[in-house]
Every structure is written in structure tokens, then in C-alpha cells.
Subunit: 209 residues, 4 copies
DNA sequence: GACTAATCGAGACGGTACGTCGGGTCTTACG
DNA sequence: CGTAAGACCCGACGTACCGTCTCGATTAGTC
């Protein structure tokens, strides 16, 4: 992770407690589960972490930044093991992503920081760095694998390829988030299969299934 | 609209000012544009609307409810004129939806209330009624039209049909929101065309384009 | 008293609670007794008074102003009944003054606000208005009575007279305060008599007593 | 001085910097002048003195103790040269005392620590030792001289004598402080002469002047 | 000349209070 | 009744100092 305010601390003086960071992020997630974003207070987080409020403010600029870091850690576990086919890989990553979104600390925190990021460019950059871009590699891996398998044609134009990667990423991430948080319907294997089929074959083919 | 606290008004006494409602909602949108969700205060909205805080609280239960109503009005304009083909219809609705999302009052307000709705079922229901479901009919219209045109096969199982409608809706709305708010990239005609092609033909076909 | 921030409140709106003022001042005195000036916190005073902190800040600008008002009320009881002779009158007022200073809420508060007033002209003015000048009349009364009795010669120059009044006041008030708070020795009838004798007859005569 | 925390320093180890003490006391006085007692912070004093906070706390227990020592040095210069008569001596000491009180570091600091000493016996003892008693000798000297000159009768009862010394001291110090800090009027030679006359001859005689 | 032990600077730490702000409620007088 | 005005209680905010602590780096005097 190593985001935060990030002054590298020159020399001299008592070093920052390494355990405090972990305690604070854990406390933040716990508070998100119990209270949700809007009722979460930094004073409460500090208390839960057994830390003074000042310690917290020394490391994070505010609620937004703290929650981004706390939530970001949840997404570190995302992997995309080779399931043998592009469809299976998509289903797998969708289900993994959904499993994270199903956790209350993610539910409560993620949308809120995204909402805040609308008016705060620094926050949006932090979200992209800490959370979003980290997942984009999964799309790249999946496409590369599918090309090796012959499921997808090889790429020619690298710029076009990047655009496609971004599009696919927006579709997958956006759809899963919308399903899970806006529609508030479960992302189960059935749904994941239907979605993967739609994504691979398109509306025309999919609707006949 | 018919939202609000909605006590049916018994008898006698001075009736509620009709103009106040409009003034408050307009003031709310103006405040959203200037300040964003998190810095918007009900006291400020009341002042802008030339209204006492009391009047505001008599009509809405809180910030969330007020903003939902204020934002919902923005989505009333969504239409899906027949553009002659399914692809064109999709592109059209995507661009319309994105145009609304580009307005700062929508950006600021929509995501925030959705974030709040994660822990507030009543709020989620209100959002569904006021905003989400209102857009889902566009999907229904579009599919029906495409079936008439023969671009899509007719539906057989009504339950399956509903599931598909929901899925398509999640894909379109989710993807556009993610592109616009998370990736923070423009939703322009080029992108809309690429997205429509992906949605209709699927990854396999699309990637060859 | 009617000091405070003193905006006369035009019309409309809920009027300020009259009982709150009294409760706050009483709570302030209680806190002074228990905690003393330096450990007195406005939050604690508010709690004791059963009042929100904001209510307190709406009426007083800070700790200093509040304590001045709280202490000032203690000095309202000062009187100078005619004891038949100038010496007896002096002794009487000295003992009364000392009795007030002996109360812990006065001890704790008075010197502190005087100390603060060194760098705050508005505060000094408030102290003079609320506490100091109110007692100067006692000197005037006492002198007038003594002149009627023939103990003091009648005044001729009014300006000189005012200077003398101020001097006498500084001597009495300053000496009693110094004895009580700096020397921290009791102001008992014996001491009061010795002081009155010194004040009336001067060092030369007094020392022979 | 010999105040401070005064651990007698066992053996070995680096000795305490001697210059640090002086730098800290000077910085304290400078801070008193600029900020006054209540806005003076120990962190700021340490910075001004070019010293770590630790160093400061190793030598003084807190703000009060530090300021007492810093202010006490100001009173070292008080002398009472023989001016030839009791009245002249009184005027002289009054003016000297007032000159010290006119310095902002004394004004700000002295009253504040006295206020604090109301609830802190150790602090009061420290003030007595470092400041008050040091001045009381001036009264003793002055009386002795006046007795030699025949202006005052010789003392008989030593206990009575001590009481009188205390009384005179309270009168002089208290009156000057009250004039200077509470009444906030200048202590000029005219006022000093009027005060000395009152003190020597008493009210009855003085008023006729 | 290395050892030893207390000092020094720097600055993070757990606390407590600050004074302000916003949320919602309530109490007035007026319409 | 509804309304504007504004005071009320509450709770969180982010900041400032407090006095303590933990660092690595100096210094003496003692071995």
C-alpha cells in the first residue's frame, strides 16, 4: 500500500509506530461494518484502534483518504487463476469481485468515496491508484490468455488495444458494482454465467440462450 | 413526483405553500452544483430558497430524501426516440444518460444517495422508485422495438425476460457510470459506438473490429 | 448585570432562555470552587448548567468574560452601613470585602481575570464596569459621612477630590486583595483595625500604637 | 536562583548545559512580552531558546514554575537607596516597584502565577521565596532607617513589629499593583508623593493637603 | 582511548479542551 | 394551522498544547 501522506521522514525524532497504521485501518473497516460511512467518525476509529485522534490525522488528511486505504486492502486478494476458458475466467473474476463487494465494509465505503471523488481530483487519483488500476491487470491477463487459447484474435493496434481494455474493464466493474450496490441483487454463479455469456457473445446471441 | 413525507393533509389551517417546494428543490440543485453533497447543508438550502428550516423539515425527512427528489427531476427528461436500429438506440440512450451524469448536480448527488442507500432500505426503495425504475422502461422499450425489427428474437419465458432486462440495465447503467465517474473519461459518440458494438456483438466479435 | 454580548435582539425567533443565564453563572461559580480557574472548562460548565456548549458561546465570548460576570455577582452584596465613625466604617467595608474574597470562587476567579486583563483592554473595561467601579461608591459614601461627622474636612477642589477618592480606593482594595490573595493571611477584625488605624492616622502615629 | 527541579546530579553522564537555562528564561520573558501568559506555550519557548521540549521539562515541572523563575529575576534589581527621609524612601520604592510592573513580562507573568498560586501551595511558597519576601526586606530597611532618623519611634514588641512590617508591605505592594494593573493608571511621581503622604500622615491629615 | 551514563535535538505519542459547524427540534410572533 | 426567525441540545469536527516517550547522536568524566 504505502500511500498515506507519505512524507518519507528525514532523520531524528521518534519513528512512527508501524502497528498503529494496521490498527487504524482495521478499526476503520470494523467501524464501516458497524456504522457505515456516514456515521463513522474519526474519533471513534481512533478509540477503536487504541490511538489518539492526532495520530490518525498525522497520517491521513481526512475520512475520505482513510477509508480509501482501508477499503483498498480488501482488493489486494483479487486473483484470476486460469480456469481454462475465457468465459470461465470472466465468471471467476466477477464472482471474486462480487464477493469483496458483498462485504459490508466494502459496500459502505466504496460508493461513498467514489461519490466524494466527484469533487476531489486528488481523491479520485488515490482511488484509481489504490483500487481501480490495480484490477485492470486482470483484464490484461485474461485477454492475453484468451489470445493464446485462440478465443480472441491477436491485437494489432496497441492504442486500440488499450481502449478496448479500458472498455472491458468499465463494463465488468461497472456492471458488477451496479448489480451489487444499486440494484442490490445477489451476484451468484447463475448471474455471473449470464453476464459472461452476454459479454462474450453479445445481446443478439445471448437473448436466444 | 409525490415523494416527500406525504401526510395527506387533514383539514383546516393554512395550506402549504406550493411554490416553496419548487424553490427548495431548485435551491438544492444549485447548492449541489456549488458545494457538492458533503458540504451541502440544509440550513443553506433553506436560506437559498428563502424559506425557514422548519418548512424544509416539514416536507422532507432529511438530506438524503431531499436530494433524491432534487436529483430525480433531472432524469425525467430521458427518452429513447426510435433511431432505426438497436445499435443506434443503445448509443442514443447511453449518450443521454451520460449527458445527465455530466451535470454536476447529478454527479454530486446521485452517487452520494446511492452510497447512503447501502444501509438504508427505505432510501434505496425511494431511489428505485424515483430514479432507477424510471429508466428501466427504456430498456424494455428498446428491446420490444428490436424484436419488432427482428434484431432480437421474441421472448418466451417471461421470468427469463425480466432477468435479461435487469442484466442489460445493469450493464448499460453500470458501465456508463463507471466510465463517467470512476474512470472519469468522457462518454463521447466514439466511445458510445464502441460500447454498443460490444454489447450487441460480444467480446469475440468486437475485438476483431 | 445585563453585560454579556448584549445584542438587544430585534424581533422574531425564539427568545433566549432567561433561566439559562442564571444556571450558567451558578455553574461557573461551582466549577470555580471545585476546579479553580485553570482547570475550568467551558464544556464542563455547560454540562453542569444543563445547557449546550453553543448556548454558552452564544452569550459569552470566552472563559474570561464568563468568569467576570460570574464573579461580579458576588460583589453586588457589598454595603456600607453607618457604623458611627470613619474608622468603624473602614473596618466594616474591609471585612465585608475580605469576606467575599475568602470565598473560593472569588479567589480562583478574580486574580485570574485581572491577570488576563493585562493584555485585553475590553476585558479590563468589563472588570472595571462590573466589579471595580461598583465599589468606588462606597468610598464616596464613607467620605461624605465622615465630612458630615466632622472627621474629615470638607472638599474644595472637585478634581483633587476625585484623585483622592481613587487613591483611597486603590489603597483599600489593593491592600485587602494583597493580604488575602498574595500574602494569603487572614483578614480578621484585628488586622482590619490595624489597617484602619494606619489608613486614618498614618505610619508615624500608627507605629506608636 | 537555585530553583528548578534540582536533582543533585549523581555522577557520570553528560552534564546539563549551563547556557540552556539562561536561554530558556530569556525566551520565556520574550514570549511573555509578545504573547502574554495565556498564549505562551512551552513548545514555543523551547523553540525560541533553541532547545528541545525535553530539555525544558527536565528542568522545570511546568509553565507556572518556569514563569516564576523567569519573572523573579526581574525583581533582583530592587534597591532602596537612602533618600534622606522616610517619605522620599517610600516614594522611591514605589516608583521602582512600579517601574518593574510596567514591564510587560512582569505584568503578564506575575499576576498569572499569583492567580495560579491560589490553589497551589507549593507554587505560592515558591513565589514567596523567589519574589515576595525578597521585597519585604526593603520595608525593614526603610523602617530601620526612619527609626535612626527619629521619624518613627523605636520598636518594642518584636511580634507586633513583624505584624506592622507585613501590613506596610501589603499596603505598599497591594496599592501599587492595584493602581497599575486594575485601575490601569500611571504610577508617576505625583501619585507616588500623594500616596506616600497618605501612608505617612493618614487620611485625616492628608485630606486637608 | 574505549567505556559509560546522562544529556541533547527531534518529533511521534495518548490525552484533553478548544471553538465552530451542522443536524434536527422547539418556541416565539405573525398571517 | 403554516411560516420566518432564531434559540436550543447534541455530537462531530479538525487544531492546539500538554507532558511523556522513543529514537539516534553528543559529550563529559571514569576506567
Amino acid at each position: 500500500m504505502q500511500s498515506r501522506t507519505s512524507a518519507p521522514r528525514a532523520t531524528g525524532g521518534r519513528p512512527r509506530s508501524a502497528t498503529a497504521d494496521a490498527a487504524i485501518l482495521a478499526a476503520t473497516r470494523a467501524a464501516l461494518v458497524e456504522l457505515g460511512w456516514s456515521k463513522l467518525t474519526l474519533g471513534d476509529v481512533a478509540t477503536r484502534a487504541g490511538v489518539a485522534k492526532t495520530t490518525l490525522y498525522r497520517r491521513w488528511a481526512g475520512k475520505n483518504e482513510l477509508v480509501v486505504d482501508a477499503v483498498a486492502e480488501l482488493f489486494d486478494e483479487l486473483e484470476i487463476p486460469d480456469r481454462g476458458s475465457l468465459a470461465a475466467d470472466v465468471e471467476g473474476v466477477v464472482l471474486q469481485f462480487a464477493a469483496i463487494l458483498a462485504r459490508p465494509e466494502a459496500k459502505s465505503g466504496l460508493m461513498a468515496v467514489i461519490a466524494e471523488s466527484v469533487r476531489d481530483d486528488a481523491l479520485r487519483a488515490r482511488i484509481r491508484t489504490s483500487i481501480v488500476d490495480r484490477q485492470k491487470r486482470l483484464v490484461l491477463e485474461g485477454r492475453a490468455r484468451a489470445q493464446v487459447r485462440g478465443e480472441l484474435p491477436p491485437e494489432t493496434d496497441p492504442e486500440e488495444s488499450a481502449r478496448t481494455t479500458d472498455l472491458i474493464f468499465d463494463v465488468i466493474a461497472g456492471t458488477v458494482v451496479h448489480r451489487a450496490l444499486v440494484s442490490a441483487e445477489p451476484v451468484d454463479p447463475d448471474w455471473a454465467r449470464a453476464f459472461a455469456k452476454l459479454l462474450l457473445n453479445g445481446l443478439t446471441a445471448s437473448a436466444t440462450a
